[in-house]
């Protein structure tokens, strides 16, 4: 087992645990405002200190992890759930109208910056976590569609696919039975990396006020709020910043580690 994989898995587990724990218990109430004890440095009562409204930062980070992980998870799930089948279908009909349609739509989505689309969605439906999910999810579809199509195409040229066609199997059956299992490693790895990008995107959207709305805590908005007080109480900015950094780092390490661990070429096969 590689140390980077272990570190990545450990960081990811810690933040997942913190997010899950926040459902049942947090050290303080994230909605309890206590102006008297605002901007306190870390202490025995408030392990990570308090923010400008006197809220407990540890509780904020734990509940914020919930928002971040949930938004990123659902968004990546959406992207994968739609992108992978589209990519498989495009590869199965390479050069056909379906392939063209999927790939050109991908190009179209890629042509818009994600923030612009997020603003657009917000303008139509109003800000909120759901719209952040939608905005991030839409941008994950072409990523997975392209990746799946590219990798699937290389498998379509292999002889075992030809053998399956000789056995009378149709394109969709071959895609599911023969191609998808061979892409699993790749998709898991890309999923982890997209997941970390999703957390960053959610933080970015919340930072500009388009993500989860108060009083639901979010790492991005914590950063935005702390911005004006960096010189006064730097820990208020450092805590959510570190949380984002460590989660993204952990997921990236996990993704890299998984890629190495799952790659059959790096595994001992036979003597």
């Amino acid at each position: 087992m590689r140390p980077s994989l272990l570190l990545g898995a450990a960081l990811t587990l810690i933040f997942t645990f913190a997010a899950l724990l926040s459902f049942v218990w947090t050290p303080g109430d994230v909605t309890a405002v206590d102006i008297a004890s605002r901007l306190q440095p870390p202490s025995a009562v408030h392990w990570l200190g308090t923010d400008q409204l006197g809220r407990d930062l540890l509780s904020m980070v734990m509940t914020g992890a919930r928002t971040s992980l949930a938004v990123a998870l659902v968004a990546v799930g959406l992207g994968m759930g739609l992108g992978v089948p589209l990519g498989l279908a495009a590869a199965a009909r390479q050069g056909g109208w379906l392939d063209e349609l999927v790939m050109r739509t991908n190009d179209l989505i890629f042509a818009f910056p994600s923030l612009v689309i997020a603003i657009l969605i917000t303008a139509i439906f109003g800000p909120g976590a759901l719209n952040a999910i939608l905005a991030i999810g839409i941008f994950n579809i072409p990523v997975f569609a392209r990746l799946t199509r590219g990798a699937a195409l290389s498998y379509w040229r292999r002889e075992f696919i030809l053998a399956a066609r000789v056995a009378g199997k149709g394109a969709s059956r071959i895609s599911v039975e023969h191609i998808l299992p061979n892409l699993a490693n790749l998709l898991i790895v890309q999923g982890t990396i997209q997941f970390s990008l999703g957390i960053l995107a959610e933080a970015g959207l919340s930072y500009v006020g388009l993500g989860a709305q108060p009083p639901v805590p979010s790492w991005g908005r914590m950063l935005a709020d702390a911005q004006t007080m960096v010189s006064l109480a730097p820990h208020v900015a450092i805590v959510p910043g570190l949380a984002i950094l460590l989660t993204v780092l952990g997921l990236n390490l996990l993704g890299d580690g998984l890629r190495d661990a799952l790659d059959p070429r790096l595994r001992p096969s036979r003597a």
């Binding site: 002889e159 030809l162 053998a163 000789v166 056995a167």
Partner: protein, 563 residues
Amino acid sequence: MSLSSRQKYPGGLGAEPPVRQAPEALLQVEGLALSIGGTAILQDVSLSLPQGEILALTGESGSGKSMTALAAIGLLPERAETSGRLLLAGRDLLTLPERDLCALRGREVGMVFQEPMTALNPVQRIGDQVMETILIHKAMGRDAARARAVEVMARVGLDPARIPPTRYPHELSGGQRQRVGIAMAIALRPKLLIADEPTTALDVTIQAQILELLTGLVREEGMGMLMITHDLAVVAGMADRIAVMKAGRIVEQGPTAQVLAEQRHPYTRQLFEASRHQAPLGLITPGETLLSVQEAVRDYPLPRKGLFAPRGQFRAVKGVSFDIRRGERVGLVGESGCGKSTLSRAILGLEPLQAGTITLGGKPILSHGKPDPEIRRRVQVVFQDPYGSFNPRHSVARIIAEPFHLLPDPPRGAARQAAIASALTAVGLKPEHAEAPIHAFSGGQRQRIAIARALIIEPELVIFDEAVSALDVRVRAQILDLVAELSRTRGLSYLFVSHDLSVVRCITDRVLVMREGEIVERGRTADVFDNPEHWYTKSLMEAAPRLPAPDMGGDDDAGGEPL
């Protein structure tokens, strides 16, 4: 051309080496042993190659012949541990630092690779790639290097008027690319040329030309050549000396004629016998017509030349007709691009035809563009690549049982297990192998599994598409015996598609010779091979390298049945 820059070498070899180094060999390997991570790869390898001679290193895959060649150019893997000595013109390459090895590669030792398709950089002009070798070694200025590149490309048969150095690799054929590879290797007139299976990926007529070019270069330029090949017929035709390797050791070496005549080591004998193998086909009486191909035409659309230009067509199969009768063993030979693969895919119902019909037992394979499962399950196929033709994630049982998909009511449970077990037994494997993952099997075993997959639904016709081309000679002989046995015992009919004439000769009753989408000659295998009539068939036969007939003892390998 200037040779003065040779003096750059550290290590005191300042003076120009004498032109004739009297008895000393150009390449002298003494007791070379090599291990990687504790696994012994080479043991006690000793070789000697004088200037101007060709030494062939032969053996099956995994015998260590390529590793020996890599040692001779200092390209061993990082973790390799070596002992012994490997002297090139008196200097031990095993102890030289990487810097000196870099200075040596390309200048003192040139290398020609197997795969001309991947050995060239696709985005660089061929002239620049030849020049690169010269410029890296700062052997001459840019203009001189360009002139030398043109000169050396003309030397390897790339006429600058027809194939200018400004071409890109994709604009050349396989043989022309291999010529560029050779030009790169000899640009600086190295003393030693290493050729690692230089013609294995080429067609037989091109192979003959490349072998002639290499031999000529060695004789005229006085280089030494270390030739790695698994093909004994090639070895017999061109090498001065042969070294036979097995499992990291040299089991026999000596002058070519002597090794061919004596074959002292049993392994050498096995190799030669396997190369000359004649599968025991037995006599059959063909039944009624099974497969009938009538005026089959297959066109491929070419990319548009302009936005509104009409699409061109490439006709891969130009109105081919032939029949296969029940029980017959038919060969289809031709060089790459002749349309034989397209034709076999059309028979499998994988490619639509633009004109003509293919029928099996009187019924068309494709009806309204859709393959009829009823018909399709009567034809199965065995592909060439024992590694690429199985889903790496499936077990043997799942792979073999895949064609059951064609049956309206596939066997389940115990019946399925029994079918898998009997298919495995039929190809010489054990029923226990069913649950093993595919990567646990060797190339030959995988080809047996591929045959089991083709046989499980008891087809009437099997297409072997280059089915033994990727196998070592001894394994190849075993697989051919298996195919022959299946045809004798089960009355299996097959179409054996191959570029390898010797294989087709030993496994078929009738042969079709295909060239540029047409069948140019057909007839009984023995007749076509002994008395070819079409000029193309004649040129194929002449180009094919051939083993000299055994002098003594006669042929005791073929089971004694006459053709």
